[in-house]
């Protein structure tokens, strides 16, 4: 009987993942988990009756509570993998049947990415997407080594012509750090966000100061508060904190000297 149970479990989890992949190309993940939950709670009611009808039931099945929970967890893990696989598949196909309409700035983004790829290097652009929340701003994630050349291209290329650097922000995600450069072209009023990632132990991003002088103090501020080093910067020292301060205050793991402050 226990073997049967286990076989049932395996079969049903397989069915579950298949259904998940089918559902995923169209629906959100939340709906998935929601569908899982009512079905399994309905089944807990059936538990006392017998194990047989649960084979006929749609989703995860197990006669007792513990194996059912394990099955649920396993199904969730497999569903997550399936979701990731489906998402990767959908992205690489450029998902023509996506429910979201493609952004109006998408062609511009593709053009820009193609330009960067052809003029700088094939792997310069790690990721490129449209930030719909922010009035469809194109966001391009650039590889750290190629950042100088990409920045030079963004400024001097006649179609891009991003001569105005608005803002440089440093963000500390706990796994890595990132600098976001917001550029705008004063003629075409087109704005871009360029992101450069770097790791946390020795964070370092090529400085954009030789290209846009605005970056000078902005990068000093990021160095001061977050600790990202900018080789190529003419004057890398602390700007807000006193010169002999130890530590970088804006980091997530910063321990203030005086806890009451």
């Amino acid at each position: 009987m226990s073997e049967n149970e286990e076989q049932n479990k395996e079969q049903n989890t397989e069915q579950n993942t298949e259904q998940n992949t089918e559902q995923n190309t169209e629906q959100n993940t939340e709906q998935n988990t929601e569908q899982n939950k009512p079905a399994s709670s309905a089944e807990q009611a059936e538990v006392s009756i017998s194990a047989e009808p649960s084979i006929v039931a749609e989703t995860t099945a197990a006669p007792a509570v513990d194996p059912e929970r394990e099955a649920k967890l396993k199904a969730a893990a497999e569903a997550r993998e399936a979701r990731a696989a489906a998402k990767a598949k959908a992205e690489s196909e450029a998902a023509p049947e996506e429910p979201k309409t493609p952004s109006p700035k998408q062609p511009l983004l593709d053009e820009t990415v193609a330009l960067i790829r052809s003029l700088v290097s094939e792997d310069a652009v790690e990721e490129a997407y449209i930030n719909e929340m922010n009035a469809h701003m194109p966001v391009i994630v650039v590889k750290g080594d190629c950042w100088s050349e990409v920045a030079q291209l963004m400024k001097t290329h006649p179609t891009l012509d991003c001569d105005y650097l608005r803002n440089v922000t440093g963000v500390d995600y706990e796994t890595h750090m990132e600098a976001v450069y917001h550029l705008v072209s004063l003629q075409s009023k087109q704005d871009y966000a360029m992101k450069v990632k770097t790791d946390r132990e020795t964070p370092s991003i090529a400085s954009a100061t030789p290209i846009w002088a605005t970056a000078n103090w902005n990068e000093r501020e990021i160095f001061d508060l977050l600790g990202i080093d900018f080789p190529g910067h003419p004057d890398m020292r602390r700007i807000m904190m006193p010169d002999d301060w130890v530590g970088h205050p804006l980091r997530k793991d910063y321990e203030p000297l005086d806890p009451e402050v």
Binding site: N131, R166, L225
Partner: protein, 366 residues
């Protein structure tokens, strides 16, 4: 023989003309500056770090205190950023109230700038005249939201209070009064030969330098670059009103002076139109969830504050507090050009140039 040495002078943190606690280390050769190193951080209060523990309604009082001379625009940039993230709709009357308040704030801020700039240069009466007129605006704000300088007036989704009885009429009466006063100011100072000799031709830079250094506001427009965020990337209701954007030609302090006074006049024009078009009744707060939790993502919005482009970059992970909140402060970015402008100038022109850039140190440090 006379031996000359280089003198290291500290235009120290405590100085009446540095508009706050701001220090410039100046290397002098006689009276000519050879190098200037600005040192800041005396007013750094860690707003960005504090914001990581507070939810958005609680951050609004902190934004007031960054650029304390123009607090309404700071409130607005934060509320606008959160509303863009959440896709909220603001009721029309609330948007009009915000616009009226922001334009009044622009008038007040330019009055402060005018008064203190002329005080730095040496004239004492314009300071008192400017503050007398600013007092009227501040009293209006006092009636509206209960505070004279740090308003805490805007909320995500609208504004906190509606205008009390008779407030809009008072604003309406203020506009012709201020226009008359502006003519008086021009008579007082605008033709004064001493003033013109001190300001014309000082602190020149060209358009390419301005764009390179990321200047904004009057500092950019004095070189002739037509970039005003109210027209170039309209936000709020600015596309409903007609107003001109004054541009300069030569890029010196005198152009910046004229541009700011003209901007004041245009703000009064916008106010007149806004008061006419405003709906006479309506909600002042939109439908906002009780706990303001923007979805995960990031956003960068920017508006035109009296000093330039103020921007707010929020990275959110879906919680009620921001994961990272960064303000792009115009005074901070505008100040970068100072070391470059000061080389070769005399000490007296240092104060003129610093005042012409119009900084508020609370914003430089955040």
């Amino acid at each position: 023989m006379i031996r000359t040495e280089e003198l290291l002078l500290n235009v120290g943190p405590q100085h009446p003309s540095t508009h706050g606690v701001f220090r410039i280390i100046v290397k002098l050769d006689g009276e000519v500056i050879t190098e200037a190193i600005p040192v800041m951080g005396y007013l750094h209060r860690g707003t960005e770090k504090l914001a990581e523990d507070l939810n958005f309604t609680q951050i609004i009082p902190y934004t007031d205190r960054m650029d304390y001379v123009s607090a309404m625009t700071n409130n607005y940039v934060l509320c606008h950023a959160v509303e863009t993230m959440m896709g909220l709709e603001i009721p029309e009357r609330a948007e009009f109230m915000r616009l009226i308040v922001m334009e009044l704030q622009r008038v007040a801020s330019h009055l402060v700038w005018w008064g203190t700039y002329l005080l730095d240069i040496g004239a004492m009466s314009p300071f008192l005249y400017a503050f007398r007129d600013r007092e009227i605006i501040i009293d209006l704000f006092n009636e509206l939201c209960g505070a004279r300088l740090t308003y805490n007036y805007m909320r995500v989704g609208g504004v906190k209070w509606d205008a009390p009885e008779g407030w809009l009429d008072k604003v309406r009466d203020f506009i012709p009064y201020m226009e008359k006063k502006l003519d008086e100011y021009n008579n007082l100072v605008g033709g004064n030969e001493i003033f013109l000799a001190r300001i014309k031709g000082i602190g020149k830079y060209d358009a390419q330098t301005a764009i390179d250094y990321g200047l904004s506001g009057a500092n950019l427009r004095c070189t002739g670059v037509d970039w005003d965020l109210r027209k170039a990337e309209p936000y709020s209701l600015y596309n409903r009103f007609e107003f001109d954007v004054p541009l300069g030609k030569t890029g010196d302090c005198y152009d910046r002076y004229l541009i700011r006074l003209e901007e004041l006049r245009q703000s009064l024009r916008i106010l007149k139109q806004a008061l006419e078009q405003m709906p006479s009744s309506g909600e002042v707060m939109g439908k906002v969830p009780r706990v303001i939790r923007p979805p995960a993502g990031e956003v960068y919005v920017r508006i035109e504050s009296p000093r330039g482009e103020i921007g707010c970059h929020i990275v959110s992970k879906g919680k009620a507090e921001p994961y990272r909140l960064k303000f792009r402060r115009p005074s901070f970015v505008n100040l970068q050009i100072l070391p470059k402008l000061l080389v070769g100038e005399t000490m007296t022109n240092l104060i003129t140039i610093l005042g012409g850039i119009d900084i508020v140190v609370g914003e430089v440090d955040a």
